[in-house]
Amino acid sequence: MAERVLMKGNEVLGEAAIIAGCRFYFGYPITPQNEVPAYFAARMPKVGGTFIQAESEAAAINMVFGAAAAGARAMTSSSSPGISLKMEGISYLSGAELPAVVVNMMRGGPGLGNIAGAQGDYFQAVKGGGHGDYRCIVLAPASVQELADLTVKAFDLADEYRMVVMILGDGFVGQMSEPVVLPEPTGRTFDKSSWALTGAAGRETHLVASIRLNPEDALEKLNVHLQEKYRAVERREVLFEETQVGDAEYLIAGFGLSARIARSAVTTLRRAGVKAGLFRPITLWPFPSAELRRAAQGKRKVLVVEMNAGQMVEDVRLAVNGSVPVDFLGRLGGITPQVDEIVERVRSYAGA
């Protein structure tokens, strides 16, 4: 029986990355993820890895760019304003098809905001944030255990698809301490010898770049290739969780902490005789659209609960495509929704 340890999310993130074979972390302090660089600063030297506190979040993502180009598993983390600074680098990583793991422990925004956990960066993570037609695989953990497991998975996904995988935590999951079973390494390996920069010894030179000037359709070809890749990811990598959906009349949808609070609301509602269920996307991109549409079929209403002004709700509306009415409950500026609020809203649908 594997050992359970009590660990803080931000620290288990570090340990899971090391378990996954990541030996290069570049970061910068910003609340609420400061424990991440601190953990790596202490742990990396012990495992023969490299930790650099970069001069900025922009510098850090570009160090990841270089390390990834050299074929290494590399990671950076930050929180909302710092992730904004990384957007250029994420676009470049995407265009150059380099694997990388980026962690956002979201905080209240916009602007400097506050240091409370929030979910205001869904659009930034899922719809772009950086320039151009690119996608990141976006993973939304709802517990410290899930954060650990998804971190290990993130490195495999990044290497397999040569993409940025973003772990989108509301700041809480980084701060919470919960019992965890540290994941095992997956043992998957990826051959990067066809593209990694290691010096052109005994082979043609390799080039890592996202610029395509000639011929005039070279950039279109790159984009078509990227889109084909993204379609493959959509077919294969969707993750979600359903709780008591089958016989539910009202479906609540949420990610991360919102979903955890909503799950408590489902329990409370069921005890009161209201048939509620929970649909929790775990991959925010690729979004479980087909699965959500199926889950919502025949329901009276879908309530989307988020810690923002309404971001994932747009993808929910797209998924159900008018077949079921969709309502929204959001708290802003780093405030968490309460179980009671959610319960009351759903009861109001039932006329209670």
């Binding site: 510098a59 270089g66 390390a67 180009a69 050299a70 150059a96 920069l197 890592v208 770049a209």
Partner: protein
């Protein structure tokens, strides 16, 4: 009269790809690429060199040198170099950058890679202008020099003074070798070649951060013929950006 034969004494270096470049006639990039290729050949490190190209006229530099290449976002090359060198410490990592890349948008990355003493070589091509985007003011544009964004000349009260990169980095403890040279004359170019060779050799020997600034011509940006541009480097640039070795911990001449 003894029989004579011809011996090739100057040819194309092997690491310089045999293709026409997109650079303007008289552009210093071509000379500096050639010197880099010569140094790479002389040290025998072509197969373990990685070149980081900047954003600027030399954005396609990796087409001209037969080494692994990577494009960096504007100003980020020293950070990219850091990532590469930390993963592959025994490779020769060269960050090749222009004025804006190194001293404007990339100032933070430039100073901090130097401050950390990253064991990389930075080649700074200083032509006192932003060439690729059509000739705007650079951090190294001289006072009274007219550019598209300093049409009345660089006015210090508005735009400050040209930045001396070598002197700036020379305030830091970690850098191992800092030299400024030029490619406007044959004599200066030979000196530049020696500096670039030394900088790369220090990296091969694992000595530390090496920085070579090369004053270079931009005839198109400056609006003059190449020979006039070469003269202007000597007359106008060198007085503000003096040539010479600012630091050489290896202590050689």
């Amino acid at each position: 009269m003894p029989a004579l034969e011809e011996k090739l004494v100057y040819g194309r270096p092997a690491s310089l790809v045999d293709r026409p470049t997109h650079y303007c006639p008289g552009c210093g990039h071509g000379i500096i690429h050639k010197l880099l290729a010569q140094a790479i050949d002389e040290l025998g490190v072509r197969e373990r060199t990685i070149l980081i190209a900047p954003v600027g006229c030399s954005v396609l530099a990796y087409y001209y040198l037969a080494v692994d290449g990577i494009e960096a976002a504007h100003g980020r090359a020293p950070a990219v170099a850091t990532g590469l060198k930390r993963v592959l410490p025994d490779r020769v990592v060269i960050s090749y950058q222009g004025d804006g890349d190194l001293l404007a948008i990339g100032m933070g990355e430039t100073v901090h890679a130097a401050n950390r003493g990253e064991k990389i070589t930075v080649v700074f091509v200083n032509n006192a202008i932003y060439g690729m985007t059509g000739g705007q003011m650079a951090p190294t544009t001289l006072q009274a020099q007219r550019t598209k964004t300093s049409p009345y000349g660089r006015i210090p009260a508005e735009a400050g003074y040209p930045i001396r990169a070598c002197e700036l980095l020379n305030t830091l403890e970690a850098p191992y070798y800092i030299e400024r040279c030029a490619v406007n004359t044959v004599k200066n170019t030979l000196r530049a070649k020696r500096a670039i060779l030394k900088a790369l050799r220090y990296q091969v020997e694992g000595k530390g951060y090496s920085f070579v600034e090369v004053l270079s011509m931009c005839p198109t940006g400056w609006g003059v013929e190449p020979r006039e541009a070469a003269a202007w480097v000597g007359e106008a640039m060198v007085p503000w950006f003096p040539l010479g070795t600012l630091r050489d911990r290896g202590g050689e001449a």
